[in-house]
């Protein structure tokens, strides 16, 4: 692994980014008519749609929890989303990602506000690039806000990794395959809580620390994009900087 040249002599990566650049991220809110909340995200070449349904009744009823809301989460890839066609049946990978994604979102949601109810988060990957779970979490968090679900914080997410022995932000598809480490992270920026952390690949101690901190930095960049998308949607895009902040703060309380 990692013998391919993924960073050139000018420090540019295969897609022209420097090691600290995020790919282009575009979040659009309210893209699905039927959903209670929805968002689409383009994160590099990832194209993901998220719908939130609920809070609503739980079926079957015995799955309901007396003191809190059941969060249900499905991460799913359309068959045409990958280089080689993906079989439509859910893979073990999708089962695992659905689980870590749910666990990344739960700490941010005020689940105790909706006892005996369920909130469903459906994440559909229409085109997959590296980092689809992070992109999916970021979009899901915005879709939850769009659905009016009470939240303690947004969940931002971003990966960092190691490529040609350098720690770089936001691993893309080639870097994921040819690089030597990938570390996706989900982070609540205001509460400073890490709610998803995985690592595939080899990092020594200092690389580990650098990678983790870089991923958190990336999460904060993603968070700004999430915020802007929400503000644009709900307050238009011409609010003065101060009010914007204030509104956000009220929202968080």
């Amino acid at each position: 692994m990692d013998q391919t040249i993924l960073i050139d002599e000018n420090g540019k990566r295969t897609d022209g980014r420097s090691i600290d650049d995020l790919r282009d991220v575009k979040i659009t809110i309210g893209v699905l008519k039927n959903a209670d909340g929805s968002a689409s995200i383009e994160f590099g070449k990832n194209k993901i749609m998220v719908a939130v349904y609920g809070p609503r009744e739980v079926h079957p009823k015995h799955m309901a929890l007396p003191d809190r809301c059941v969060l249900r989460c499905r991460y799913h890839m359309s068959p045409f989303s990958t280089d080689t066609r993906k079989n439509p049946a859910p893979s073990r990978r999708e089962v695992e990602i659905s689980k870590v994604m749910r666990e990344a979102l739960e700490p941010a949601i005020m689940l105790e506000d909706y006892p005996r109810a369920a909130i469903d988060v459906f994440v559909e990957v229409l085109q997959a690039d590296g980092g689809s779970r992070c992109a999916g979490i970021a979009a899901a968090s915005v879709a939850l806000a769009d659905a009016g679900v009470n939240m303690k914080d947004l969940v931002a997410a971003c990966a960092a990794g190691k490529v040609n022995d350098k720690i770089v932000l936001d691993i893309n598809d080639i870097e994921d395959k040819e690089g030597s480490a990938d570390m996706p992270v989900a982070y609540l920026p205001n509460l400073e809580q890490i709610t998803l952390l995985q690592l595939d690949g080899i990092l020594n101690e200092s690389q580990f620390n650098e990678c983790l901190e870089k991923a958190i930095h990336g999460c904060k960049m993603v968070y700004e994009i999430q915020r802007k998308a929400l503000i644009e949607k709900y307050f238009g895009n011409d609010l003065p900087e101060g009010e914007e902040k204030e509104l956000e703060e009220n929202k968080e309380n």
């Binding site: 039927n34 799913h76 459906f122 559909e124 085109q127």
Partner: protein
Amino acid sequence: MSLSKKSPIVIEQLRKRQMFDLITNGKRLDGRNLEDIRDLEIEIDIIKKADGSAKVRLGNSEVIAGVKVETGAPFEGLENKGALIVTAEVLPIASPYIEPGPPDEETIELARVVDRGIRESQMIDLDKLVLIPGKTVYVIFVDCSIINADGNLFDATSYAVVAALLSSKLPIFEIRDEKVVDTGKKQEPPITTIPVSITSIRIGNNIIVDPTVEEEACMESRITITTNSNNEYTAIQKGSTGYFTLEQIKFAAQTARVKAETLRTKLKELIK
């Protein structure tokens, strides 16, 4: 086993009455005439990883279709033809009434009817997609993800499939040393005709075209009729638990031919 079920979508009595009264007067809840089709928007090439793709919006029904081309064994009995496989999934993002899981009978019917509409019209000349007769052929998957469901998924999905195929570029495979090799080059798909599906439903004694989900919740029967570029009928599927009279079927068939023309013109523009 197929069984009669209650529709999960409940229309209030008052709204139902309003719908029926309007229909009797030739109008519909969304202002359309009985034979009007909702606005159709088509975007192509939206999935770069696919060999062809389209997003179709028919009113508020939205479908994405992606074409993926592989090679494989031909179907039994069709040894000297390429294989075309259409699948559909009504994603749980599409509606509050969809549970994730393996496809139910509605979705299986949807995929099969759309598939037959394409296949029976011979839209793709599958004879041209053979690498080793009887052994290795092009296998074209057209997978459909329904992302918002607001009625008439049959037509919306069919248009998405047709648009994705029309705008697709197929990889050129070759046999070298008994192995399949992707040459990296691309070819136009061998298109012979453009099938257009038109779905009508019966409410009372009225036939209305391109129903919304609300209208479908009140329908007695449904009919999906596909015609080709020569204005011939190529596939039909009657559905739902009511009947049609012979006259109603002939009326729906006639409507399907007429209505298909505008849509076919729109789809044809995708090729240039």
